[in-house]
Symmetry: C2
Subunit: 338 residues, 2 copies
């Protein structure tokens, strides 16, 4: 009698104890593990934000590493975040909100109270709402050209089908993101496209980091940040700035006790999780810098990985899905160990 559990789903990740009768299809993880060294791109230390929370009750270290998003997808907020880190502004602030299936949020828990708010460094930029999106410019259009051309061709071919099968053929030929016309992993980030407005924007997947804000036209400074700890809240796309993603230590945020409903705010200061320090990795002594790399989203291995995420054929699966949403094709990131 065996109850092999869901664990079987990832057995293929482990070295097989006995050789299987036939070679099973590789899992997405195996494809990533087999990627060539030159398909991985090192992340610059100046793009890594290292947040150390106070140790847990057993004295365990709680380090969260955030990869900052490069321009042009995230703009003025990133400069503000660099200034806040340089000023050690987050040191002594806290994680003060954890809402189940939504976000964990940190910064100044007293920020809403003018009498108690921690003063911000001078010189932070006020970023306009228009920077939530950017134009689909020539560079990105070039990157998207092959994908969009293939889809266009498939759609035109579908139109030419006989009437009785045309609707079905067209259905199969259309990109199926509920929130945009097109999604793509581009230079390491999940991006959505609107063909009509010719604009693009990064999207709210699990572990993405955004800038909490007051009501419009406030866009937030970057001092109050959150990360997604549940199902992708894509309705926030274009409504709030994304600045990066947690690439290590998300469990120190996602497994925190949830605050009281509806917003998960820890009103009781004793429940807040103190932040010991937040630094750019480039401001840490070289020996202490964490080092990470991501699988180039423009690489052949990433294309194979994305295809395998859409059509799981590794031994656990019996029905490949035939598709996947962009947030289920997370960009592989790994620590570089010396």
């Amino acid at each position: 009698m065996t109850h092999l559990l869901l664990a079987a789903a990832a057995l293929a990740l482990l070295p097989a104890a006995q050789p299987p009768a036939a070679q099973p299809a590789p899992s997405p993880g195996q494809i990533v593990d087999a990627a060539k060294a030159d398909e991985w791109i090192a992340i610059a230390p100046s793009d890594l934000l290292v947040m150390d929370l106070a140790p847990d009750t057993a004295g365990g270290e709680r380090r969260v590493v955030i990869q900052l998003m490069p321009a042009p997808f995230s703009r003025g907020w990133i400069g503000n975040i660099r200034k806040l880190a340089a000023a050690h502004w987050w040191d002594g602030t806290s994680v003060y909100r954890v809402q189940d299936n939504y976000v964990a949020q940190w910064g100044d828990a007293d920020g809403e109270d003018p009498a108690k708010a921690k003063p911000l460094p001078v010189g932070l930029a006020t970023v306009p709402e228009s920077d939530y999106e950017r134009p689909l410019d020539d560079e990105l259009r070039g990157a998207l050209r092959d994908k969009m051309k293939a889809e266009e061709d498939a759609l035109l071919a579908a139109f030419r089908q006989p009437a009785d099968v045309r609707a079905e053929a067209v259905r199969r030929a259309i990109p199926r993101d509920p929130y945009s016309d097109e999604t793509i992993a581009y230079h390491g980030w999940p991006i959505a496209v609107n063909r009509e407005t010719q604009s693009v924007w990064p999207v709210h997947c699990y572990a993405m980091v955004g800038v909490a804000r007051d009501l419009s036209p406030n866009t937030g400074t970057g001092s109050e940040l959150y990360t997604v700890i549940g199902h992708a809240p894509r309705h926030l796309d274009r409504n709030i700035a994304l600045v990066g993603r947690v690439i290590a230590g998300i469990e120190h945020l996602s497994s925190l006790p949830r605050g009281p409903a509806p917003l998960g705010v820890y009103e009781d200061p004793a429940r807040r999780v103190p932040i010991a320090s937040v630094r750019l990795a480039s401001d840490l002594p070289e020996a202490e810098r964490p080092r990470f790399e991501y699988l180039s989203t423009e690489s052949a291995s990433f294309a194979r990985y994305a295809e395998a995420r859409q059509n799981r054929r590794d031994p656990f699966f019996i029905h490949p899905a035939g598709g996947a949403d962009i947030c289920n094709i997370a960009v592989p990131v790994r620590e570089i160990t010396p």
Copy 2:
């Protein structure tokens, strides 16, 4: 200087301290709160599975309530779960696996070891894989008719557009689920449709509960269960049985410490979370039964709620998304308080 945080997003849920200048659009939560009493459907006590974990370190109660899925979407496994609960089989077992952005899983942590596995009750059914799906029969086709007809009409109208705008019109007219041809909330549950095979199945959204299993053709008995605690792993649809969803206390599972990667299994028995008891609510003394109701997915208020989830117009939002995936339109469930 204010840092109003993401909290502003839900201010509309709270009674306004001062009347706003103009009436803002209602949030999805406000629409649900305004639903009529007769739009709510009480869940039968025999469809509620009540799992009490051992108290937390502070002595706090940890109760998880699961709504079992009715036939025909989940079949033989539900009968097995009723037998397991009646036999008190889960009492003394544990939550033994918590994998970040994936699942929390419980049952017999030693189930894979024949020498240590806890014997199962006699008479459990072996359910075939074909029961992961069911035919799109007349009843469901009737329920879907209006939705599918409207989409069919929109698609045909799009085909008749001039050539230069036809592709765009068609794109807008197609349902956009990456994993199926159609999704719908039906009799309280998220369902996907394949038009070609004329089959339907329930889908893996946050908090849905499924039956862990060994490799195919094993379909699991129902003794080892998991719940989704991250982004919807829709690739598991039709590959594993869904039997219900957590409707209260998910935080007692989603906020548990993650086990070691890659599978999150607590190999160390001391880390496992003991299960004190699992009972159907109908087997509890009447005074101790939790009572819940869900908003009918066939009600006018649900339709308004779903529309508002797809097009957020409440004050925090500046860009309504124009769509939402089925897992971002969670069926509202609430406790009935005496």
